[in-house]
Symmetry: C2
Subunit: 148 residues, 2 copies
DNA sequence: CTAGCACTTGAAGTGCGCTTTAAGTCAAGA
DNA sequence: TCTTGACTTAAAGCGCACTTCAAGTGCTAG
């Protein structure tokens, strides 16, 4: 018993059979052998699906994962593939992290708000700039109180 | 000249007119006054749009922004709205940040990879677990070298 | 033999945040 | 007067990663 049905692969990999068919349809997974029209998988597909999951966690899109798996000359070593694919990703990730910290500061600033009307929270240039590009402190709600 | 056309609002707010119409259609913005069928805006809408932008930067979805703006009793102070809306968001943001660090570690691990075949990178339980739930170190590629 | 379940396909649907398109209206300048 | 450009609408489209649907086929147990 070396062969797996699509349902078995799905439950072992923790994904839906429909996802496996989808991966095949867009060329992420190769077309498997078939018996009476039914797909038959070698256990090796589980490793490939684990790579897919790993790459997703690393922030790769499905298109990028397709490239990682099938977009290189067959003899290209894994290490070289990762260099090509992960390098650029790693260059952008600190920006993403920084953005989340901006988001966090913004949320904390709103919790400090003492405004009556929402519009007041934004009537100061500092917040307008803070929300645009500059990673400046969001000096939310400098003028608290009644606008009515 | 106290009234603005949709085009003027759009250029001042740095968004497209189509976005403004969209916001109106889903109830984020109220319906403005009209002259000959054309929308006429009070400058106040610019503050509201600034709030929309601010809230987006803080990670709120459009549906949440709609709630923030129009989902409370009219006399609910801004400060209370922020408490209700930002509190839960802030509780989840550290998880998001942590996820990005996992992602970063994963990317760095792939750059250390010495595998020939991608499937090798994943043949060890440590990575399988690392990519599942536990925020453990991704000990990628324990067995480097030739699998052929 | 027949029920029932897993499988097959292509096409359409989902959710998000808009944008784009098509067809038409309105106001101002040459 | 005619043209130009900004506006109006409803409906469809986009990108992503799948899921769901409808209609049909195959395998297995009773």
């Amino acid at each position: 018993m070396e062969e797996l049905t699509i349902g078995e692969v799905a439950s072992r990999a923790g994904i839906r059979a429909s996802a496996i068919r989808y991966y095949e349809s867009i060329g992420v997974l190769p077309q498997p052998r078939r018996t009476n029209g039914r797909r038959r998988y070698d256990k090796a597909v589980l490793s490939t699906l684990a790579i897919v999951r790993l790459a997703q966690q690393a922030g790769f899109s499905i298109a990028e994962i397709k490239t990682l798996l099938n977009g290189f000359a067959a003899d290209t070593p894994a290490s070289e593939r990762w260099q090509v694919m992960s390098g650029p990703k790693l260059n952008t990730i600190d920006d993403l992290i920084a953005q989340l910290y901006v988001r966090k500061q913004l949320l904390e600033a709103t919790l400090q708000c003492g405004c009556t009307h929402l519009d007041d929270c934004v009537h100061t240039p500092s917040i307008a700039e803070g929300t645009k590009q500059t990673g400046q402190q969001a000096a939310l709600c400098t003028q608290q109180g009644n606008t009515e």
